[in-house]
């Protein structure tokens, strides 16, 4: 009976850890915000010091981000 207790618990733990690592890897590669995820710029507003950009991620969620115009991010995108 003790063997059955231990076996069932070990199997459940192993399955959970495998699922955890598998899902973490999958969302890291394919999921929203994963390394191959995409976002599209919807609109941009500029002021003398900042740039407000509205983007939509590939999970359908929209975000507005404000970037200082002299920041490395803004410069790297040629703004």
């Amino acid at each position: 009976m003790n063997t059955r207790y231990a076996t069932s618990k070990i199997m459940l733990t192993c399955a959970s850890v495998l699922a955890f690592t598998g899902i973490a890897t999958w969302v890291g590669i394919n999921g929203p915000f994963g390394s191959s995820a995409n976002a599209q710029v919807q609109s941009q507003q500029q002021s003398p010091v900042t740039q407000r950009v509205r983007i939509r991620d590939d999970d359908g969620q929209a975000y507005t981000i404000t970037i200082p115009r002299n920041s490395p991010v803004a410069r790297s995108r040629g703004s």
Binding site: R4, S16, A24, F33, S35
Partner: protein, 212 residues
């Protein structure tokens, strides 16, 4: 290190926590509904039901703790314990915090049963139905991956499984007409009949697996 590393971990941990919570809840209802023709009434199955709930708490801890170093959502310690204080999807995270408290109550109720008594434990353990609903709502509303087809399928099948098992569990049990006269013939004294199904002096079923 990928800047979203902790975000990936919390999402994976959340999905595994929900799967384990579903497994534990479904197993608990199946045991108490006496499904499986006696197979689920074995002590090791009941132990597995308890262990799955504990394991769910372990992954829940990962789900919560890795939010703190995540630079994108900016969670503070208070956001993890006070419903509604998080700036990130406040309603959905508040539901998640309530589900966390429900999971704690449901799981630790196993270990205080001998002090609070069977009847109080049973009522306390019924909170797991609410906990499951809150976890499902939290996953649907807050989950970044909720729009993925396989995650939608998981939530739908988990919800349907627990709902159908609950309906079966609480459905009035059909009893054969002849059962009562037979019992009366075997045990003319009602007290003796009670003792045949319960340990002496209690109303508790003989096996703890049958008591939910």
């Amino acid at each position: 290190l990928d800047p979203h590393f902790f975000w990936y971990l919390t999402r994976a941990a959340g999905i595994v926590t929900f799967a384990l919570l579903t497994f534990s809840t479904a197993l608990g209802i199946s045991i108490s509904a006496r499904l499986g023709h006696g197979l689920l009434e074995k002590p090791w199955v009941y132990e597995l039901h308890k262990f799955a709930a504990l394991l769910a708490l372990g992954f829940l801890s990962i789900h919560i703790v890795v939010l703190l170093p995540d630079p994108w959502t900016s969670f503070h310690l208070i956001d993890l314990f006070v419903p509604g204080s998080a700036a990130y999807r406040p309603i959905a995270t508040a539901v998640g915090v309530l589900a966390m408290y429900g999971a704690l109550v449901g799981t630790f109720s196993f270990y205080i049963k001998k002090w609070i008594g069977y009847r109080a434990w049973r009522w306390l353990h019924y909170t797991t139905f609410g906990t499951f609903m809150l976890a499902l709502l939290h996953g649907t509303l807050a989950g970044t991956d909720s729009s993925q087809a396989w995650v939608e399928l998981m939530y739908a099948s988990a919800g349907l499984l627990v709902l159908s098992l609950s309906l079966y569990r609480f459905m009035p049990e059909p009893r054969p007409r002849s059962a009562r006269p037979q019992l009366r013939r075997l045990f003319p004294d009602p007290a003796l009949a009670q003792q045949s199904v319960s340990p002496p002096g209690t109303n508790e079923p003989r096996h703890p697996a049958l008591s939910a």
